[in-house]
Structure formats: structure tokens, C-alpha cells
């Protein structure tokens, strides 16, 4: 079944970004994503929420969930369900299962996005090089998410911890974003490449 066949990452072949104390940037392959629209408030939705351990469905900009399954509010009655690699899906959360009927639209989006984890003390400084939203921890709390321009590309930016972010970028843009990241992370020694050392 297709679920078992690994998804080919668009970042195969591009130079990887290593890590440093200040910053690590790495792709997070293998998560299962569902694009959800139009919550049908009813028993199915209830089932889905309880599986996720949520009392209520997250508002735009908020997220919630448990056991490696998180629901992100990314638009007006639009959500993204992010399931960590390897999390055994409760049947309620399969497109065929309860979630399929809890929402007007439940589409597999696992192939649509490339997921990039950015963590470390310099993480928000890095994002501030290409993203206009206010990342101050008072304003953008862990668990918060936002769809915004990063280096001019549309991204879902999800703060998973004080110093850790996840970026969901449209697959066809992934390489362009990665190359930008390569460029702007150089100063943190986030990758060994010394080619353009200067002075």
C-alpha cells in the first residue's frame, strides 16, 4: 500500500545543513499530513478531538494534540493535521476514518509540504532575516503557528518550543527555501562549508 512506500524528498541531493550549538536546520521527513476544512461539529469531530486529547478545535494560529499528532489552525476553518513519522494512526485519524466525515474536506497533504526543523538559540534570529512576524516569545508562544512569507515564500511556521520551530514549505519551493537557508545560516556555522570565508 502506498503508505508503506517512502515519499521522495525534494531535498534529496541538495547539500545538507549540519548543526551547531547555536542552530540546527534539518529536514523532518516521513510525517503524515492531512489538510482539513469545514469542521462538521458533531460526534465524529468529538471522536477526533478526544483522540487528539483536545477539548476544543484549535483557533487560527494555535495548535494542539498528543502522541505525535497535532492539529494546526492555519486558516478560517482550515486545519493541518501533522502526524509524526512512525506514529501508528488511530483509525479515527485516517482519511477514511472518523476524520473523513468530521470535516467537509479531508485531503492527504503528506506530499504537498516539506517539513524543516529549525532549533537553537539563534532560531528566531534566523527566521527574522526573512519573516516579518513578531517572534518575541511574549507574542508568539510555543504551540503557536502562522502562515507567512519566509524569504518571500509561503510557509507555515510552527513554534514547537521556546527555541524550536518547524517550517512547512510547499514541496515545489523546498529547494529554493533550503538554498536561502544555507546562505543565511552560514554565520552560525550551521554548516561546514567555508567556501565564501572572507577577511
Amino acid at each position: 500500500m502506498s503508505e508503506t512506500i517512502p515519499i521522495r524528498s525534494p531535498l534529496v541531493g541538495v547539500p545538507r545543513l549540519g548543526g551547531s550549538a547555536a542552530l540546527t536546520v534539518a529536514e523532518q521527513p516521513g510525517s503524515t499530513l492531512l489538510h482539513l476544512e469545514g469542521a462538521r461539529h458533531g460526534t465524529e469531530l468529538g471522536a477526533v478531538l478526544s483522540t487528539l486529547g483536545l477539548a476544543d478545535i484549535p483557533a487560527i494560529g494555535a495548535s494542539g494534540g498528543r502522541d505525535g499528532a497535532s492539529l494546526l489552525g492555519i486558516g478560517p476553518s482550515i486545519w493541518l493535521l501533522v502526524m509524526e513519522p512512525g506514529t501508528a494512526l488511530p483509525s479515527t485519524l485516517t482519511a477514511g476514518g472518523a476524520i473523513g466525515s468530521a470535516f467537509t474536506v479531508a485531503l492527504d497533504a503528506s506530499h504537498a509540504y516539506t517539513r524543516i526543523a529549525i532549533a537553537g538559540p539563534k532560531a528566531s534570529e534566523l527566521l527574522a532575516k526573512g519573516c516579518a512576524i513578531d517572534l518575541h516569545p511574549r507574542r508568539f508562544l510555543p504551540g503557536g503557528c502562522a502562515v507567512a512569507a519566509l524569504a518571500g515564500m509561503r510557509c507555515t511556521i510552527w513554534r514547537v518550543a521556546h527555541e524550536a520551530f518547524e517550517i512547512l514549505i510547499g514541496r515545489s519551493y523546498a529547494v529554493s527555501l533550503w538554498e536561502w537557508l544555507r546562505d543565511v545560516t552560514a554565520e552560525y556555522d550551521a554548516h561546514p562549508d567555508r567556501a565564501e570565508r572572507d577577511g
Partner: protein
């Protein structure tokens, strides 16, 4: 400029694409309106020098059309709302 997206909050206008005059009213049945009325809908604009009801599409954000009232002289934003929940004014 910063546009307060009713869904995403304040964002630079470079995240948006402009959608023009939001006070236009497309006739329910275009066949029933005069050439003049149709011409007015497709081509004529009030183009005010002051408060202007307009659409913006949050292309690099929530991907929604929103309705904004903005002063075209000062660029002050007077109101912003999701489509339909028209706080921004008199679209039919």
C-alpha cells in the same frame, strides 16, 4: 503598509495582492441590466481620494480574500474584515 488580516493579524502588505474596489456590485442577472450598467460594473471606478473599500488577497498568508477600508491619501486602515462578515462596509 501593514494590513490587519482578520485571520492572521497585522502583516506587511507585500504578503497580499490587491483586489480592487470592494463596492462593485455584479448584477445578479447581467442579461437584465443595460449596457450602461454593465459598462459601469466592469470599467468605471469611484477611485476616491480618501476612505476606500477594497479587497486584498492574503496570498502569502491564509490565502483568503479580505475586505479592507483604507484611506488612499493617508494609507490609514480604518477597518478590515473577513469576506461576508462585512465590518468593512457596504458590499451587498
Amino acid at each position: 503598509m501593514l494590513i490587519p488580516c482578520p485571520h492572521c493579524g497585522e502583516r506587511p502588505h507585500s504578503e497580499f495582492i490587491y483586489g480592487g474596489d470592494a463596492t462593485l456590485y455584479r448584477p445578479a442577472d447581467p442579461t437584465r441590466v443595460s449596457d450602461m450598467e454593465w459598462y459601469d460594473y466592469v470599467y468605471l471606478r469611484t477611485n476616491p481620494r480618501g476612505p476606500h473599500n477594497e479587497f486584498w488577497h492574503h496570498t502569502l498568508g491564509c490565502d483568503q480574500w479580505i475586505e479592507v477600508t483604507r484611506d488612499t491619501l493617508t494609507h490609514r486602515i480604518l477597518a478590515a474584515a473577513a469576506i461576508g462578515s462585512s465590518a468593512a462596509g457596504d458590499t451587498p
